[in-house]
Amino acid sequence: MIRGSQQMPESETAIIKPEAMKSYIWLQCADGSIQQVEEEVAMFCPTICREILKTGSGSSKNYAISLPEKVSPATLSLILDYCRFHQVAGRSNKERKSFDERFVKVDTDQLCELISAADSLGLKPLVDLTSRAIARMIEGRTPEEIREIFHLPDDLTEEEKLEPLKNVNDDPRIRLLNRLYARKRKELKERQKQKEAKVVEERKDERSVDELLSFINGEEGSRNSKTTKGKKKNRRRKEHSKDSSTADAYHTEKKERANMSGACTSSGNVSSSPNRNQGLREGAQDPFALKLGEDDYTDDELDPAMQEELDREVEDFARRLNSMWPDRVQEILSLGQDRRRNSSFVGHF
């Protein structure tokens, strides 16, 4: 809130205007320093504008408009630059956009001061611009990085830190991937120990990955990706989109889903060779486990070559998950979750 200055005596208002071609407004910061700025620039700030119109202050040095504490002289200059640029009517959107982009290329402390000052001066578009810039600095960063950038104290207990993560990080695919990762590590370690059975082990490993995949497909056996064609069409409809999807796409999708749900319910009845069976059941455990189970991943020393192979396999798996059957995986996994709640299966390894 701007604390208004004193009312101007009537006689003086008559005298001020005529001489200057340009009228100036006087602004005073909390620290006492005074700045002078062109009237049209100052009027761009809603709160200053209101103050001028309401109390008539600002037109001389003695009757400067007092600005709120949050607005430091340096920040005020920046803001006035912003106003000076944007209040010119003839500028193109492109020009404005590139000015804005350059404007927010300041350090985080400056950004925080800007957003605060912009808010107290009522400059909504600048608040928008700065908040977006700050959000960009937060997005995609780890908590440690964020704390460092913004000088945040790390003052939460471990328990407090864990709470929200449990809720957010329950993406079953991520958990599935983590589980697979840990499992592969274990298996590779065993492989290192049992060099004679290496060949057999490898085959079993690959098979179980494939089985996991095919289980997730909801099919037994190796029926592959021919039904995913319909899926790849992007059918998300945004506002005002004028495309009409064909009835065919609908029908393929509906059929696929029917297939899937059918396969899902029969997933328990695997009746093949013991090895395959075990592989499938093990695979079955992964999506159905509710526990986060991060303590499974102890960092063992693995041969770097093994590590690479491991990484590659997991990456491959992740890619396949993401690109080919995202929606179906999601569906089965969440269907699986619901079923899991009813059983008393503790499921972890």
Partner: protein, 408 residues
Amino acid sequence: MDIDYISELPADLKDEILVKLPIKEAVKTSILSSKWKDAWTSIPDLVFERNSLEFMTIRLVDNVLIFHHGPILKFKLGSVHACNEAISRWMIILSRNRIKDLELSFGSREACKIPSRLFSCLALERLILSECIINVPQNFQGFKLLHTLYLFSFKLSGITTIANLVSGCPLLERLTLFEFVQQGCLHILAPNLRELDILGEYQDLCLETPKLVSGWIYLNGDHEEFLIAKAGKESNIKKALGCLHNIQSLQIGPQFIDYLAMAHIPENPPTIFNCLTKISVTVYCFDRDEIAVALCLFKSAPILKVLNIQFLDFDDVDQLQGQSFWKLKATEHYCLFKCLETLNIIYAQDIRLSSRNDESMLEFAELVLRIAPVLEKLYIIDYEDPMVCHTKLKNFHKLSEKVEFKFI
């Protein structure tokens, strides 16, 4: 000394920042420090959308809604494969929250039933629903504040009609109805409506929308279904479009023109659209009724500035008499093309070009060139053989001095 400025920002500024993060990241800020522990719980907008590789799960939405406190002004849900129970319980929370902006797009696999609680969210100003089954309850009082309504791929169940839904929203300004089936007449009564997009199946259309500025009307249907339309004595143009005194831009599809052509087609236009400056039509060039409708429409727009026209052709029709329809029907009319500045003739890319198509197009071009005094641009888009066409066009008599031809 590194000062922690950001944590001292007031809650509403923190909200401004957090709202611009994807929801998962916003929630994750709760582990940053004690001052940020609950900062996210008051954000007014909750947007659950898939971004890159991540999915939104039912569990996430549940948990966010549990931990959230404070008003929820905007709720957007996309790409969550939610079952009907989840939607019901979320709707209970949302309806208690005076929600203003609600967008639900379900996965296209199975339409989701919209819980009746939605209709008690009386503070709604913007509503977008996609892939759903809507059943408007009997005691629906209407969304008195709703200004935007977009419905995509929806079904109405029970005795609901679109008319019920729309007439309960007196302030409605933007309406989109996309992919739906309405038995009988589609009647839209919306006194404040400014923008309208329709693509669906209906047998008859009646628009009581006097303030409409922009219309986009397409129809999925067949000749056989227009029984009601055929029976009418009054012209369909008048019935469907007669109220649109303020319309500025109109785009209509081929089947809709078909529908307009069903009943009586007057020689002189039944309504004059004094503000209409832009028309986009798609015509089957050898249907004399359609051409008559198109001409009637052109005549009813005295200040028409831009015309986009696309010619289609039937594969199997062999009408040689079709050749001079444009000439036959276009008697000199004091309104016709007098203000036309730009004419864009569009060839759809997947329509096989037939020579009859060309002829019709050239005829039309000739007609326009002959009677349009201020025509400046004649653009032909996606045409395969510009050279031949260009020479022909150059030879036509031009009423306007400065016509520019261009092939894009």
